[in-house]
């Protein structure tokens, strides 16, 4: 199968790129979730201190 290497290279690059991108999105999601949870906790404590 002549030039099959090029076909599989293209296929591999496409899927590797999408997996890397999805991983990066997942990491960003985790980071944002952590920030939201941290800020909500801080707001709860602030509310407890001020009696609101």
């Amino acid at each position: 199968m002549e030039n099959a290497g090029f076909l599989f290279a293209a296929f591999g690059i496409i899927w590797a790129s999408f997996f890397v991108y999805v991983f990066v999105l997942w990491q960003r999601q985790r980071q944002i979730r952590r920030e939201i949870d941290f800020i909500k906790e801080a707001l709860k404590e602030k509310g407890a201190k001020t009696g609101l």
Partner: protein, 224 residues
Amino acid sequence: MENRKTNNRWLLGLSLVLMIAALYLIFLYVPTEETMGVVQRIFYFHVPLAWVSFLAFFVVFLGSILYLWKRNSKWDILASSSAEVGAVFTTLFLITGSIWAKPIWGAWWTWSPRLTTAMILWLIYLAYLLVRAYASDDQRGARFAAIVGIIGFIDVPIVALAITLWRTQHPGPVVFQGGLAPPMLLTLLVSLAAFTALYLILVTQVAGLKKDRDEVMRLKELLR
């Protein structure tokens, strides 16, 4: 939020089914093209990646116009999410085109009209993202990026029509001119559906991230 998660699951399921079908058709069903051999099967990734990147830029174009008109951040979120995902698709269609070109043309790249205008499209996406990243504040960045998104869209029809307007090394139009045998057309359309579904999922996820980022900014304001 629950509706968003349910819709995402349906879309993810649909995308998976379509992608598996596309892979089966590309590697096992569609006959090998006579002139180029097996490497021609890159066509079934390369063309859908290109078409979806045009779709993504069209969404950027519409979202940018609506944002400048209505000043509602949801349009900016849509435009910027589509730009980010569109940049990934554009990068991949350039790379797959280059990989296909090497065994067929004997060169990774030529400065033919189609390839040059496609490279310009990639640079316009990059400019859109950089304008947002380096603006002094978010609203200013969103406005400037929207202008880039509207003006930059001019390149999309130029890329699409480059193979009919100018003499170019890139193969001429075949899809809408009846140049594809039915199995090839079926494979192309299923692959296009699969990549379009993938684009929709990714844009949904990126838009969700940007909304969460806005929520973080809002909560930080409350903390002050």
